[in-house]
């Protein structure tokens, strides 16, 4: 197991990079939120891996907090998307750059 830790870190680096690429590339706000979730999960994987490497439970405790913050972020983000889509159906991230109706 110990020899797999560098591979875990590499996998989370790859997931983070893919998520960042999607966030920059896609224009659908829903898909952008999914890409943010992808990046958060990559960071979670890194936290758990480092927690095991250093034999420290804080690595798992902080993942718990990241999960909660991710849930709150999704709830508020989806609320904003619903509110915007009610005024401008099919709005992309470019259309809502002014942040007003």
């Amino acid at each position: 197991m110990t020899q797999l830790y560098p591979a875990m870190l590499g996998l989370s680096a790859a997931l983070f990079a893919i998520g960042a690429m999607g966030l920059l590339r896609r224009r659908n706000p829903l898909v952008m939120i999914m890409c943010v979730e992808l990046m958060l999960n990559a960071v979670n994987l890194t936290f758990v891996t480092f927690g095991n490497m250093l034999n420290d439970a804080a690595g798992q405790a902080i993942v718990f907090f990241v999960l909660v913050v991710a849930a709150a972020e999704v709830v508020v983000g989806l609320g904003i998307i619903v509110a915007i889509s009610r005024r401008k159906p099919g709005a992309t991230a470019d259309d809502i750059s002014m942040l007003r109706g």
């Binding site: 790859a14 960042a20 829903l30 999960n41 758990v48 034999n55």
Partner: protein, 230 residues
């Protein structure tokens, strides 16, 4: 050996799911690919003896967050395909690939510099001082279970103690209790914010019919009926 196979399968699922999220034209397919990635990460959590986090990952992420995203997709009717080759902002795609490439190369180079690949390197990782501070018995928080068990196949199972969740719970309610309370406050604020945000604004709602006029119509009907009867 078993660990390696499990890791490889999960890594392939994770990477394929992630590329599916980014490159699917249909948002529903993106959400389902996200589920695949989250499940792969949950299995990796189990592999690293973080059973509680694996369960929470499946319940919260795939059970709540992705379902919420799917609800919004269905609610808004935006499950139409998006032309992802359309590029209104010149150079957006190229810069996205560039940022992704720089990110992954930089992170891998950092990993290489940190020397995690060399198990004999005593100074690997965060350096001796930091490692002494945060590792094991001298941990500033709490050590994960240090019991080492060896399975019959020769694999060393670290943290084989299933009471890992006890350590985590004790940590959350002692050292991180303030952060825990703030987290509860954050969730409350998020719920209130979501309700306020998603509420139908009053200027877009059709004004409700006047009860008085309804009553008038009703009375008119009654009078008409009664006059007809006479």
């Amino acid at each position: 050996m078993v660990n390696m196979i499990v890791f490889l399968v999960c890594a392939i699922i994770c990477i394929l799911g992630a590329t599916g999220v980014v490159f699917s034209r249909n948002p529903v397919h993106s959400a389902l690919s996200l589920v695949a990635t989250l499940f792969g990460i949950a299995v990796l959590f189990v592999q690293m003896a973080a059973q509680f986090l694996a369960a929470v990952q499946v319940i919260v992420y795939t059970g709540a967050i992705v379902v919420l995203i799917l609800f919004v997709i269905m609610l808004l009717g935006v499950d139409k395909e998006e032309d992802i080759d359309d590029e209104p902002l010149a150079g957006q795609r190229v810069s996205a690939y560039l940022v992704a490439g720089v990110t992954i190369v930089g992170l891998v180079v950092l990993l290489g510099l940190a020397g995690f690949n060399d198990p004999n390197n005593e100074r690997r990782g965060l350096g001796v001082a930091t490692a002494d501070l945060v590792t094991g018995d001298k941990s500033v928080t709490a050590p994960l279970s240090t019991s080492m068990a060896t399975t019959g196949r020769g694999d060393v199972v670290e943290n084989a103690d299933p009471d890992n969740i006890k350590t985590l719970g004790r940590l959350l309610f002692t050292k991180y209790v303030f952060a825990f309370e703030v987290t509860g406050l954050l969730l409350t604020i998020a719920v209130v914010g979501a309700v306020v945000m998603a509420r139908r604004p009053t200027d877009l709602v059709a004004p409700p019919e006047e009860p008085a006029s309804m009553e008038d119509d009703f009375m008119a009907d009654v009078e008409a009926e009664s006059s007809g009867a006479h």
